[in-house]
Structures are given as structure tokens and as C-alpha cells.
């Protein structure tokens, strides 16, 4: 199953470029939707839309804070997806949230709601391969691309099974740890990118611990591109607004294109 997300990322790769997928927290501030549109215009190949969850165990302080603020402002999965539905963001999108948000709405209803909102993909970091059956059945049916994570701890035999079941791209986790900006790119980032690239032809993007344009460039020597979360969300939290966040995304784009 190949959809708009995978097509866009493959197109970027085939043109000789590197993929840039920023993560933005849905419902954070009044202008989050405009910010996504500005980010798309600034050179993102696709956008991850975070739907806040009360207990995000894969996330560090920046995204936790963004989650809390969005929830306090009354954001819900429905309110976020309602706004996405009416908008033309300009690039394919994937929702990133936690399993209970999807389960609570119902696997089928959640998948259909995403499809109805024009969302292409979905990432549920606490639904690993072994637990993914019920969700992927619903997602496949609705035409939603389920992106799975591949972590540095995975033994070799596990990686092909993850890549096989992942659609849109394969999300290679850059380090042992949670989301957040680090001073240096972890050694594990290129290693996992290479291990995953070795077993799949699907786009391989490294996320978690990629926080600066130079780190993005460094890991993209091996990977097909990057997911950038906390650095972008921090700019949103700092009140960067559509322009300020787009400016940061443009810096990543320029560095990757150079």
C-alpha cells in the first residue's frame, strides 16, 4: 500500500534531495494551522501533526509542555482534525499520537476520521509491531499509511519485519531516549539509518535527537531524510508564529539542499 506520504518522500529522494518532515503540535496556539501551511511553503515534504496525549512516554520536556498547553486550551482529536479537514496544508500529513487516543475513538472510526480529514499517515509510537494488528487492519482499510518505528535496540532479524509492515516511510529512532534537542548527533543515528536502509527500499527518515540543520545534514549522509520535532515545537512555544517557525524550517531545507 503506497499513498500520498510515501509518494512525496520517494519523489524527493528520486530527485536527488533529502526529505524534511517537521513535527508540529496540533492545537498549540491559535495559529498552529497557519504555521503548518507556512512550514509546508518553506520546504517541508510532509508534516507530522501531533495530537496531544496526557501521558506521552516517548516525549521529552518540550513536547510534553506543548501537549499540556494544547490540552489546557481545549484541544481534542476531533477539534484538531476538524480544522485540518477544512484546510489545504499543501503537503501530505501524518498524525502522530498515542495508541489510547485512537483506541478510545475506535480503531475504525479513528482511521476513517483521519482519511476524511485528508491525513495520509499515522504514527502511534506505543503500538509496536506485535500489537499493531487491530490498528493496521483499520488503517489499511481506510487507506491510511501506518509508519512504524525502528529502534537501535532492534536485533537484525526484527528490522525487515518492521520495514515490511511500515508504510509512508520507516521512522528510524536516532538514539536511545525520548524526543528532545541534543547538543550532538548521537553515534547511533547513522548506525540505525544504515541498518534500516540495508533492508528496505522505503524512505528511511531519522527522528528523535535531530535538532539542528547541521545534525540533519550529518545524518542524511546515510538516511533519506529527517523528522524534526522538539526544535520546531520549541519555536512554536517561544511564540515564533507562522513566520518564525517557517524561517527555522527554511534553514533546515537550505542546509539539506546545499
Amino acid at each position: 500500500m503506497s499513498g500520498a506520504l510515501e509518494s512525496a518522500l520517494r519523489a524527493r529522494r528520486e530527485s536527488g534531495g533529502k526529505c524534511l518532515v517537521p513535527y508540529l503540535t496540533g492545537g498549540l496556539g491559535d495559529d498552529w494551522l497557519e504555521t503548518m501551511q507556512a512550514v509546508a511553503a518553506a520546504g517541508a515534504d510532509a508534516i507530522e501533526i501531533g495530537i496531544p496525549f496526557s501521558d506521552p512516554v516517548m516525549d521529552g520536556p518540550t513536547i510534553q509542555l506543548a501537549n499540556d498547553r494544547a490540552l489546557e486550551a481545549g484541544a481534542s482529536p476531533q477539534s484538531i482534525l476538524d480544522r485540518v479537514r477544512g484546510a489545504d496544508i499543501g503537503v501530505p500529513t501524518a498524525v502522530m499520537t498515542y495508541g489510547n487516543i485512537a483506541y478510545r475513538m475506535g480503531w475504525d472510526r479513528f482511521a476513517n476520521t483521519l482519511a476524511d480529514a485528508g491525513v495520509s499517515g499515522c504514527i502511534l509510537p506505543d503500538i509496536p509491531l506485535e500489537e499493531s494488528g487491530a490498528w493496521t487492519a483499520a488503517a489499511d482499510q481506510a487507506g491510511i499509511e501506518t509508519v512504524l518505528l525502528a529502534a537501535p535496540t532492534a536485533p537484525d532479524e526484527r528490522l525487515p519485519r518492521i520495514c515490511e509492515r511500515s508504510h509512508g516511510f520507516v521512522y528510524a529512532v536516532g538514539l536511545l531516549g525520548i524526543t528532545g534537542v541534543r547538543a550532538e548527533l548521537a553515534d547511533s543515528a547513522k548506525v540505525i539509518a544504515a541498518r534500516v536502509k540495508h533492508v528496505t527500499d522505503k524512505p528511511v527518515l531519522v527522528g528523535v535527537g535531530v535538532g539542528t540543520p547541521s545534525q540533519a545534514v550529518e545524518v542524511s549522509e546515510v538516511a533519506d531524510g529527517v523528522v524534526v520535532g522538539s526544535a520546531i515545537v520549541q519555536r512554536m512555544l517561544d511564540g515564533g508564529g507562522p513566520e518564525g517557525v517557517a524561517e527555522l524550517v527554511a534553514e533546515f531545507r537550505a542546509a539539506l539542499d546545499a
Binding site: 496525549f53 496526557s54 501521558d55 506521552p56 512516554v57 516517548m58 521529552g60 510534553q64 499540556d68 490540552l71 481534542s76 482529536p77 476531533q78 498515542y98 495508541g99 489510547n100 487516543i101 485512537a102 483506541y103 478510545r104 475513538m105 509510537p125 506505543d126 503500538i127 509496536p128 509491531l129 506485535e130 500489537e131 512504524l148 518505528l149 525502528a150 529502534a151 537501535p152 535496540t153 532492534a154 536485533p155 526484527r158 518492521i162 529512532v173 538514539l175 536511545l176 531516549g177 525520548i178
Partner: protein
């Protein structure tokens, strides 16, 4: 209907599973394998038995409470987990896990704690085995359980505040999991209840099974059979799982007492958090709600998956009790039997006291999961 092993996917009926970030999947699978091997190894069991006996002071006695029985109109027996080293049932699980961690070559332990009892037990085992220990505890709990915070530090553990969300047990679990993701290769996550991803709910129950096995034999000697009712308080559900496992295959009524402000089973809405699919207090969108209880150890919005299963099939009953009833029960046991219970354990007695008409003339075994020393300061403030 006995409490059997979970399915190969870690399910008790519909509940359980391994809902963790991909980074942790290999660690959980490795733990599952290591536990299976260790639990089938006579030498491991003998070593654990030696520790439980010589170090923790097992077997814990069963006390027949004549004064209390007279007051309540039913015969109450207490399984005295309060007399264990470190003051609660938590030591059973911790010695098992620390021994297993050592066997797996891990040199560090990380744990979450609510009331601090599990944190103290983990810090104790770490001291004994010469391991490093980090314990996450909600800021609110650090305040209300100061004594245990000091004990942990004295034992050489580092206590870190969980400042997110409700700043209680739920958030301490989040922080412990986040910590574990980053150090999974060197560190064992010593989870404190029958919750979390497979194999924890099963493994922790097996390490606490000793409570039920001992109590079964002790009741046989004292009563010539099994008690009519077996009662335990339920936070995540480890002390309850331990004592229930000794009686699940009898016709004893099994009752878990939940705090009214944290009654996950009472509301019976299933959900996914902290690694397993179980009953979970949550809003209409799946955001986890904050539990509210006088007792830090039960201040948790979820429950272990095996309890969700036991409730769903009707093998065990789960009853909510209020903080006010717990305060009453705390004083009742102190006054009638000279035993100051942990606030958690007082929940079980609170239910017995409320249900005394239903229980009239029956034999009731209560798991006294811990002693109340840690709660005396808090109760001084409440009772004035």
C-alpha cells in the same frame, strides 16, 4: 478458575499486552525469556527463597483478630505483610526482580514509587546487591511521604521528582519509562505492581504468589479450610494479585478495595497506558484522568490487566471505598488490635467494615499489605 499464565502475547483474556515504544520491545522480550528461565530454575528459586526467609523475614504470620472480629461480627484474619522487612509486601517482588536483574547482567535499577514503599524496597535491594538505584516519585508524594524519601536516600538511592501532570504515581511511571528508554541496556526497570507491559503483570504476580501460597496453608491450619472471603486493597493490584493467586481456584469470594477517587474497575472503561491494555480512568477522548486518594500508593488511574480480566469474568469483585471510611478503618485497627495499618491496607478493612452485614458470621482474610509508620505524620495532620 485459577489465575493461570498469560497467553504468549501477554494477555489475560482480552487484557494485557506489550504496548511500549519500539525501543523497549527487545528489553521486554528479553525480560520475558529471562524470567521464564529463572522461574523454571531450582537454583534461582532456592536463592530467592533464602532471601525471602533470612533477609525479609518470611513467612509472614496470619493473625486472628478477636477484638476486631467481635466489633465487626465476622471473623477477621490478617495476613501480616506489614511485618516484612521494609514494612510492606513490596519487598517480595523487589527481591525477585533484583535477583533476576543481576542474573541478566544489569547493574542499575530504576523504579517508580507512590507511597514510597516500593521505592524503599527497591533501594533496599539495590543496597544489598550493590546496584545503582534511581527512584522517580511525584512531587506531591515527595511532600506527603517525606519519611520514605529520607529512607531511600539513606539507603543510597537517588530520588528524582516527577513534576509533570498530577505529580503522583502515574507521572512517576511516565518518568521511569522515559528514563528506561535511554538506559535500557544497563538498567532494569523494577516496576512496582502488576501493571506495565508483559511480562511485568505476570512476573510481579508470580513474585507475590508467596503471599497467597503461605496464607492458604496457614488458613488450612487455623480454619481447617479456606476463608469465605479474601480481601485486599488495589492500586496497581500487586498485593491483591499475590493473595488472590492462593485462593483463585477455591470458592472463596475475592474482593479488591479501590479508592473511590481512583476506581478504574468501577468505571470499567478499557484503555492503553503504561504498556498494557486494561481498565483506565480517562475522558471521552482518551486522556488519562488524575486519580485522587488520601493514600499515595493507590493514587493511580489504572489497574493491572489481570484484575480487569478477573472483574470481567466475574471471579473477583472490586469495591470503591471513600477516604473518610479509610480514616475510620485506620483508627479502628489501631484501637482494637494494636496494629497501625498502612493507609493503603486500611482500604481493605474499610470495605469489610462497611460490608459487615453481608459478612456476618463469615471468615474474612485481609491482606495487611503494609504498616502505617509512613502515614502517621499525614494522619496527625488530618486527625489533629
Amino acid at each position: 478458575m485459577a489465575m493461570t499464565d498469560p497467553s504468549s502475547s501477554g494477555r489475560f483474556g482480552d487484557f494485557g499486552g506489550m504496548f511500549v515504544p519500539e525501543t523497549l520491545v527487545p528489553a521486554c522480550q528479553e525480560l520475558d525469556k529471562a524470567f521464564r528461565e529463572a522461574w523454571a530454575d531450582e537454583a534461582f528459586r532456592a536463592e530467592l527463597h533464602r532471601l525471602l526467609t533470612d533477609y525479609a523475614g518470611r513467612p509472614s504470620p496470619v493473625t486472628v483478630c478477636d477484638n476486631l472480629s467481635e466489633e465487626l461480627g465476622c471473623q477477621v484474619l490478617l495476613k501480616r505483610e506489614d511485618l516484612n522487612h521494609t514494612g510492606s509486601h513490596k519487598i517480595n517482588n523487589v527481591l525477585g526482580q533484583a535477583l533476576l536483574a543481576k542474573r541478566m547482567g544489569k547493574t542499575k535499577l530504576v523504579a517508580e514509587t507512590g507511597a514510597g514503599q516500593h521505592g524503599v524496597a527497591t533501594a533496599t535491594a539495590a543496597a544489598l546487591f550493590g546496584m545503582d538505584c534511581v527512584v522517580y516519585m511525584g512531587t506531591v508524594d515527595i511532600e506527603r511521604q517525606k519519611l520514605n524519601v529520607f529512607r531511600m536516600k539513606l539507603l543510597g538511592a537517588e530520588v528524582r521528582a516527577a513534576e509533570s501532570g498530577s505529580q503522583t504515581l502515574k507521572d512517576a511511571v511516565n518518568e521511569a519509562m522515559r528514563h528506561w528508554v535511554a538506559v535500557v541496556e544497563s538498567t532494569h526497570y523494577c516496576l512496582g505492581s502488576v501493571m506495565g507491559p508483559h511480562p511485568y503483570p505476570w512476573m510481579v504476580r508470580e513474585f507475590h504468589r508467596v503471599i497467597g501460597d503461605e496464607a492458604r496453608a496457614q488458613c488450612q491450619a487455623l480454619l481447617g479450610g479456606v476463608p469465605d472471603v479474601v480481601v485486599a486493597c488495589v492500586g496497581g493490584g500487586s498485593n491483591a494479585a499475590g493473595i488472590f493467586s492462593g485462593f483463585a481456584d477455591t470458592d472463596a469470594l475475592l474482593v479488591g478495595a479501590e479508592p473511590a477517587g481512583g476506581a478504574a474497575v468501577g468505571r470499567a472503561v478499557p484503555g492503553i497506558v503504561h504498556g498494557s491494555f486494561s481498565y483506565l480512568m480517562q475522558d471521552e477522548w482518551g486522556q488519562v484522568l488524575e486519580a485522587e486518594s488520601i493514600s499515595a500508593g493507590l493514587d493511580y488511574p489504572g489497574i493491572g490487566p489481570e484484575h480487569a480480566h478477573l472483574a470481567a469474568i466475574g471471579r473477583a469483585r472490586y469495591e470503591p471505598v471513600t477516604d473518610a471510611e479509610v480514616i475510620e478503618a485506620f483508627q479502628l485497627l489501631s484501637r482494637t488490635e494494636g496494629i497501625i495499618p498502612a493507609l493503603e491496607s486500611a482500604h481493605g478493612l474499610a470495605w469489610i467494615s462497611r460490608a459487615r452485614e453481608e459478612l456476618a458470621g463469615k471468615t474474612v482474610l485481609l491482606n495487611l499489605s503494609g504498616r502505617g509508620d509512613k502515614d502517621v505524620g499525614q494522619m496527625m495532620d488530618i486527625l489533629g
